[in-house]
């Protein structure tokens, strides 16, 4: 077993050092719909200043065509899901005869919400993601069925709520009642998992900008979620992405929507404090 581990470890190390030639994020500026100037590069937040000086949106690590596709709402296929979620926003569902709009008016009233999630909920006494908050509304205010955490309907709604905050800086609170959850997330971020024994940091902090096989490693920022991936041509949730990464280290993964991933989402989001909300963004 030890031998196999070593071989796999060597493969991982080779993969991580193979493509130094194309290092570095692309120099480019993201202007949304020729209107909103997005912050895709900025100074790293204080809490991680010992790890890196500058943070980059994953947008900088994608090819020129993919970057262009995200700069126009018509070209961005993720906006189809946003339009469908807009219909859902205004549609009454559940036993209470309410839609989202019954309490919140237009979806643009959600501007400023995405930048601060995940967030401590005083009422619930826990840190919640936007998905949990949406399902709480559905169950307890609307009397409607919960949506599947990583499903298309849920992620469309998250994308709609994110879309009205595009251009606003990510700004999650990491102190106060959220602090212990944030610490847990930080610990997970630096914990090596799986047969490949890789932590989030091994790829996204130590080796961003390098090539992992044919892929350009980003800093693993999640300011662009939900993400429309060219690979599966649908919106992908933060937790599904985490699950994919943990699985790729050849580990048993945590459950989407569960405490571990909530903690990790809070921590990883905080590593992007200062970058613009981009969701729905486009990645490969």
């Amino acid at each position: 077993m030890q031998k196999i581990k070593t071989v796999l470890g060597t493969c991982a190390a080779m993969a991580l050092t193979a493509g130094v030639a194309m290092a570095g994020p692309a120099e480019d500026k993201l202007i949304l719909n020729e209107e909103i100037e997005m912050v895709t590069v900025t100074t790293a937040p204080d809490h991680m200043s010992d790890a890196m000086d500058t943070i980059y949106s994953g947008w900088h690590f994608r090819g020129v065509e993919t970057r262009a596709m995200q700069s126009d709402d018509f070209d961005n296929p993720g906006m189809i899901a946003v339009e469908q979620a807009e219909d859902a926003w205004n549609t009454v569902d559940g036993s209470e005869g309410k839609s989202c709009a019954s309490c919140h008016d237009g979806s643009d009233s959600m501007a400023g919400v995405k930048p601060v999630y995940p967030k401590w909920s005083e009422a619930a006494g826990e840190v919640r993601t936007l998905e949990h908050q949406i399902n709480d509304c559905r169950e307890n205010r609307m009397g409607a069925e919960k949506w599947k955490y990583t499903g298309g309907t849920m992620q469309g709604m998250v994308a709609l709520i994110a879309s009205v905050s595009r251009g606003m800086p990510v700004n999650v609170a990491i102190d106060g009642p959220a602090q212990s959850m944030w610490e847990q997330g930080k610990e997970l971020y630096y914990t090596r998992t799986g047969q490949l024994e890789l932590s989030c940091a091994n790829c996204h902090e130590d080796n961003y900008g390098m090539m992992i096989r044919a892929d350009h490693l980003s800093q693993g920022q999640i300011n662009g979620f939900p993400v429309y991936r060219l690979k599966n041509t649908k919106l992908n949730s933060v937790h599904a992405r985490f699950k994919g990464c943990v699985r790729d280290t050849r580990a048993e993964t945590y459950k989407p929507g569960g405490q571990e991933f909530i903690a990790l989402e809070l921590y990883v989001t905080s590593r992007g404090n200062g970058l613009s909300v981009e969701g729905p963004s486009i990645r490969n």
């Binding site: 993969a15 994608r62 090819g63 020129v64 065509e65 993919t66 596709m69 992992i212 096989r213 044919a214 892929d215 490693l217 991936r229 060219l230 690979k231 599966n232 041509t233 994919g244 990464c245 699985r247 790729d248 280290t249 490969n284």
Partner: protein, 138 residues
Amino acid sequence: MQFTRRDALAVGAGAALVAGLPIRAMAMGDEYIEAFTGGAEVGEGGITLTAPEIAENGNTVPIEVSAEGATEIMVLALGNPVPPVATFKFGPLAASQDAKTRIRLAKTQDVVAIAKMDDGTFAKASASIKVTIGGCGG
């Protein structure tokens, strides 16, 4: 000169390329090209096919075809299980014979665009597109 195992492999691969692949690729494309041209000669020039040299993902590859004076442009992906991709027919109100779309490529391959010009001649352009695999999951 030493003849190493690596050289042998390289020669072998080269031979396979010469012997096998082009013939198969030609056969794949030819059938569709002939149906489009009716066997007429296909020239070069007068048509452009713009595509990324390296596609980030084969599922969504942006391409653009342009051929001034064309009535139709057919696009083939020679390495796909089914080569035809699309045929653009330009009507009287087309301001240019230019179109963009997004296509699927099963693997690294050549994409070919053939224009039928309004004088009845045909022109061809091709692009070699590398389709990459992902980092971990593939």
